[in-house]
Subunit: 375 residues, 2 copies
């Protein structure tokens, strides 16, 4: 699945889109894996179906401030040491790795460890996008405990957290990571092969790579419209809705880091400078997009901002005044829209005073309003 640097670049590009503004830029991890590929050390990806029921599968994830994750060099020594400590701690050989979240930097860390250790990565993840807290995973929602987990920093401090529930695990891990300098690697969510099939979002590496490839192929075509190619690909996924929510330029970006969170507000305007206004609220990820005040897409559905010409997906930190962009809305994986999932990662968990409304319903509402105002 990942045999060339281009395969990896496609996947990383898709991971930024699925990162929905957050999750950390996979760029540094991507460079690390590219180096391994050039040396002939390929990360190995296996399908969820290929796992034995009692295979031992473990997530390897960076935890910390996205800004710090981006700057962090991936240390071969730290990753291998974490794997060795994890195997000693759990008393089992790790049969496969799994990404906790496919969106952002955590898409590539398991691949990095796979390339240097030979342990394969399962084509699946815990959320199908990026999320700000470690308990916000389908693993946790469907009964896999995040802990006992290991946290390790680059100087070799190791902390094992065994929490009574995953919400508390998040608080404990976050505190430890802050003391470790705002970035640590974790070995987390120990699970069986059967649990992967039951609780993970399946095929997420394939999706991520497909997204990146659709954008690249669209650009390279004679009639090159990467957006047409991207939307066509996205719409093949389980009938999930994908639409361009807005086409315009960034007129304002507010960033604030508070209590370990990245808050922000992006304001966009139409290129014709008419009265149309579009905003995107950030809480680590893009959580709600509003068109003239009316919600157009909300978490857990995905909001992504892409360069208007190249369709390169952008993280929240990359956005600056004057940038010309298109905003994409993309229905979340169906697992994330179930009632039990919305209890853990619905809009109210992000401080939004609304129940979840799917992008397709919001689109229908907006179209109806447009028809009324056209009269």
């Amino acid at each position: 699945m990942i045999e060339t640097v281009q395969d990896l670049q496609d996947m990383a590009r898709g991971a930024v889109l699925l990162g929905t503004g957050g999750g950390g830029d996979p760029y540094v991890g991507e460079l690390f894996v590219s180096e391994q590929i050039k040396r002939g050390k390929l990360p190995k990806v296996v399908s969820p179906e290929s796992l034995d029921d009692d295979a031992f599968v473990l997530s390897i994830a960076g935890i910390g401030a996205p800004t710090v994750i981006v700057e962090q060099l991936v240390s071969e020594k730290t990753l291998l040491r974490l794997l060795a400590r994890a195997e000693a701690f759990y008393g089992r050989r790790v049969d496969a790795l799994i990404s906790a979240e496919i969106g952002g930097a955590n898409s590539v860390f398991p691949l990095a460890l796979s390339a240097i250790s030979g342990v394969p990565v399962v084509d699946a993840d815990g959320i199908g996008r990026a999320v700000p807290q470690l308990e916000m995973t389908t693993f946790s929602i469907y009964g896999i405990k995040a802990t006992p987990c290991l946290l390790m920093d680059d100087v070799g401090n190791v902390v094992v957290v065994d929490a009574v529930n995953d919400r508390t695990a998040e608080d404990l891990c976050r505190s430890v990571v802050t003391a470790m300098g705002s970035m640590a690697f974790s070995a987390i969510y120990p699970m069986s092969g059967r649990q992967v099939r039951e609780c993970a979002v399946l095929g997420s590496l394939t999706l991520s790579q497909g997204i990146g490839r659709a954008i690249r192929v669209g650009r390279d075509r004679a009639d090159g419209d990467p957006f047409a190619s991207l939307l066509a690909y996205l719409r093949q996924q389980d009938g999930r809705v994908a639409r361009i929510l807005f086409d315009g330029k960034v007129t304002d970006v507010l960033h604030e880091t508070r209590d370990g969170w990245h808050f922000g507000l992006v304001t966009l305007q139409d290129l014709r400078d008419d009265k149309d206004q579009f905003t995107i609220e950030i809480r680590n990820e893009f959580i709600v997009a509003r068109h003239n005040g009316e919600p157009a897409t909300m978490v857990p559905d995905l909001i992504s901002v892409l360069d208007r010409e190249s369709a390169e997906p952008l993280t929240g930190e990359m956005l600056t005044y004057g940038q010309r962009v298109k905003v994409l809305g993309f229905a979340a994986d169906p697992m994330l829209r179930r009632p039990e999932s919305l209890e853990v990662l619905g809009p109210r968990l992000f401080g939004i005073d609304s129940d979840f409304i799917p992008i397709e319903d919001l689109a229908a509402k907006i179209e109806a309003a447009d028809m009324v105002s056209a009269h």
Copy 2:
């Protein structure tokens, strides 16, 4: 050594004095152990000499904000669960418990666990007073590592910290404890019987109990002067200097909690209301006492504030306007005054711009100045 409630009360009273304003009031823990004693479950104290060289000895300590430690009820279940988890983690039966610091609440937690588990407590501790940080112990100074250690809260969250050094262990543990609600019990500083004899402050339970007894006996005598009795007892300890630094009333108390620390400044005046001014700076513990601006005692020597009549030792939090008190200065255990100790717990570590000057030298200076001013 502790056979009656009075024995325990003597020890706890002495522990407040050795707590030098901080360390948390042992009162709640004392109540718990009193209950055990009344039921015939006595804590067992053994001498350091009685330990086998390879006996496995472990500290049981509360870590957290002193104000929270004071309010925390001691849970029999939590203490026993911590012991069981620690034995499973280290893979050894615990042969004896040791107090990490004899000053304050951490004097009684090992006794509490001893009473309910039958595991004896060694007559020794890691500092001979109270200190604000977990790496400030003679254990650490003389080569015993604080970690791997276990932290456990009352709801059953468990965190294992394995740090590259004890300074980092302090940061990691402090962060975890904050996330646990500002109070946790720890199983920390695993050591051998031989290490106890080489690295601990010896006889600290005896000292603590002796202090409390001297105060009580002094009060009860016909010519009752608890201070005379107390000073006589203290001066028997290795020739350590003990003196009353000031006799007056509290005219001002500032308390501030910042970054998890308790900062404060106590101002006292002479009872005759003359121009004499006396201040005590608090950083969790009393760290420097100044008479008209000139240092009279500084950390690691001990500063204690006692009720002017009953000689009851008072914690920093107990001090209020108008209280009539005497301030005691007491030379630290000789181990704490060695150069290697002062590097870890000398005045500069507390933000004081001075090398350590022993109480006896400061006293000589003050007396010389008094003789000059009397001319």
